[in-house]
Symmetry: C2
């Protein structure tokens, strides 16, 4: 199979086509050293597209292409890059050239970049930032990773309760350029305590002489600096917010988190969830850019745990060696039993773990869910048991063996769906990550008990 001959998997929208077109053209122009042509090519293109195009270029060309941009554009494009590319470009540039760009980034994006850089480089850069930006960044860096404090931006607009609507609009007009959003506004008391919130929409429809206190909402939904970023995402999603205010333990407003950052966080958190379900340890960096040694190290853990599981399975099989010696045909169905049990368990645990990760209200009653899953396991087990008994009989012609396979498959289905649904709740209640913990235990239960049940049933039926 040659992958290049098939259409690129990304070429699904006109936007992707545009990016591909620009990238190919840019690569051509750059390889011909036609820098003026390349510059002209990028002028009408949206900064987000330019970022995507540059990300798609071969690495040596990325820095060259980036240098083509005007300073203003470079700042915008830079913020759209993945942190990994930002880091790569940083090493390509002389520090001064680059410092202006870092100085212009919004504090939350800058912190995300700093998280990836070596501590020495960060402190060098911090020293050279303008004092105002330095304070903002150092503040954010003080919070734990993956908390609201770390992802918030201090560039919000705050109003006083006794301001009039007309004054507020005037103030917003003056502060609009520096603020992350002007669409949600925060009302603070003299001691910076958050006392209310209102939207620009409320302001626009109000009469100019009204006071902010008359139109603001006093019942503010806020998060604290140490709230987990996943919880922040859930609140923004739940309330359809454009931004959520972040307060410290004295309820003083210290920043806001905006919805555009939440989309990135949701994607990142989901990737972590999916990786964990897939038996991969999730790291903070991009999997595809990690060294192969790191990749292997992150995967080998779960594989070594399987060894422990399989010590049990192996012992179970060896304890029945005399039976297998007499009826070697039994061995032919062990893979079926293990594969099916593993999959039934994965099906049950997938719905429960996903439900727990999305705070699904249906999971408020674990007993009911486990009961439902066990019944589903029984139904599945009955269907599969009958089919498999027939199938094994046709394959092998030995009714005793066929019945043993069918009956034990029924038992394994029930076991797997019960374990698959109950274990995630159990681990969650012990504050352990269900996605991480469930798979090894389900595998152990299904493999060891499955094989034992199978061989015991066979011994009984075959009378050996």
């Amino acid at each position: 199979v040659t992958f290049d001959s098939s259409p690129s998997p990304q070429a699904t929208s006109s936007r992707d086509e545009l990016q591909t077109l620009v990238r190919n053209q840019l690569e051509l122009l750059l390889s011909q050293q036609n820098l003026e042509g390349a510059k002209a090519l990028l002028v009408p293109v949206h900064s987000a597209d330019i970022a995507a195009v540059i990300e798609g270029l071969p690495e040596p060309m990325q820095a060259i292409a980036f240098r083509l941009l005007s300073k203003e554009e470079a700042i915008e494009v830079f913020e759209y890059f993945d942190t990994q590319i930002q880091e790569d470009l940083l090493t390509e540039f002389r520090r001064q050239e680059f410092l202006d760009i870092v100085d212009q980034m919004s504090p939350d994006d800058r912190v995300r970049l700093f998280d990836e850089l070596p501590a020495k480089v960060v402190s060098l850069l911090l020293d050279q930032l303008s004092p105002e930006e330095r304070t903002a960044t150092a503040l954010l860096l003080g919070y734990e990773p993956d908390t609201a404090g770390r992802i918030m931006t201090p560039e919000y607009i705050s109003l006083k309760a006794d301001t009039t609507v007309a004054e507020a609009i005037d103030l917003i007009r003056r502060q609009a350029r520096g603020a992350e959003t002007i669409y949600t506004l925060y009302v603070t008391a003299r001691d910076r305590r958050l006392v209310g919130t209102l939207s620009l929409r409320d302001l626009v429809v109000a009469r100019p002489e009204q006071r902010i206190s008359e139109i603001m909402t006093e019942n503010v939904v806020s998060v604290q600096t140490d709230t987990d970023q996943e919880e922040v995402a859930r609140i923004i999603q739940r309330y359809d917010f454009l931004a959520v205010p972040v307060v410290d333990h004295e309820n003083r407003l210290v920043g806001i988190v905006t919805v555009d950052d939440i989309l990135d966080i949701v994607e990142q958190e989901t990737t972590e969830d999916i990786y964990t379900l897939g038996g991969l340890e999730a790291g903070d960096d991009d999997y595809f850019k990690s060294s192969l040694f790191t990749v292997a190290r992150r995967r080998v853990v779960w594989l070594l745990i399987l060894l422990i599981t399989n010590t049990g399975t192996s012992a179970a099989i060896r304890s029945q060696e005399d039976l297998l010696e007499q009826v070697v045909a039994l061995a032919a169905f062990i893979p079926l039993l293990i594969d099916t049990g593993g999959n039934v368990g994965a099906q049950s645990s997938t719905v429960v773990i996903r439900g727990l990760n999305t705070d699904d209200a249906a999971l408020a009653n674990p007993k009911r869910i486990v009961f439902r899953e066990a019944i589903a396991g029984i139904i599945l087990g009955l269907m599969l048991g009958v089919v498999v008994t027939l199938w094994a009989y046709i394959l092998q012609g030995n009714l005793g063996v066929a019945l043993s396979v069918g009956i034990s498959l029924f038992a394994v289905s029930l076991l797997a769906s019960f374990a698959g649904s109950a274990l995630p709740f159990l681990f969650k209640s012990f504050k352990l990550d269900p996605a991480l913990m469930s798979a090894p235990f389900i595998t152990t239960i299904v493999d060891v008990l499955g094989v034992l049940i199978y061989l015991w049933v066979a011994r009984l039926i075959l009378g050996l």
Copy 2:
């Protein structure tokens, strides 16, 4: 284990605590028939929280609690409900009572509800809507599910290019209540073609006498009515938009999709991706509310496919029955081989499938990724091969068997990581869903080839 004795898995934030508190209090008051007390309890609570509280009540109480709300509040709360609960409540209410609520919903939310209702009920409701709302809803219902046309709202604000900033602000003030968002504004020509876009922020900082044409962006990123909703989500995420305009094939503006709807779509699409990876057929409805028969039907497909796979594996084992009869110990390690191969394959396919689903730029070069994964498989295979050889030797004391297990595990790791990374690309290039197609093929390759390699190697090493 009693699940009730442990803290509820949801009780992780103060918001959840508040909701739990209100729910328990409300349940108590309702069971005491104290409706006035219940009403008073809900007054200061945010609509989104009331919705969550009602969703958590026992079903018979949900409708009673909902009736406590003032009409205005009921409309707001109703929009926050899951579609499933909206549907349940609808059947509890006499139609007239309910119709006012449906009439006040925004068209995109209403369409999402109508999607779940029986066609007869939908046409009855449509007839009774106000003419304006009926047109908007019927229009949206005409588009394919999961497209931009279906999730958009026609309630946007459009301006003309020759309007002044002052006139525009005045117009926005008048239309603010009816529009889904006033923060992104669209500029259309006389024939409704989309010619530009600007934000309320641009408007607020502009001079009152400037024309819209001077401050608008002409290079508009838009989607078409038939663009897939996943693609819409990606564009909003990529460009950090609050809303994206939807145009028809003549580039006429017909609606907008806002970022708050995107968060729900991302969650729904992610659940589908995760379900597919977990071997579950994803449906449009809530898994936990589907009938057990539906649940079993959706799961049994993938389990029956496993039967076909296992016909191969079973045949492979039976073809070597003479070998197994002589060295029954070999059977004890088949589960290890299958489990490990399956997991290595799942690890590789998880990163590739997740990358494809999120349009990761790193996947632009499939050959490189497959090569990388194959090398990772070799590294893993070497590590595991050595460990497993020792482990099998300690367990069994037969060096020949131990070496066969180790060597074949190395081969299986390489095979699995190659297949796990290459197959998703292959299926994607044939426009098939990689998440759906990859697992059965990886299982087949790992199980059948793995067992064959294992027994061949054993035959060679043991000289049988």
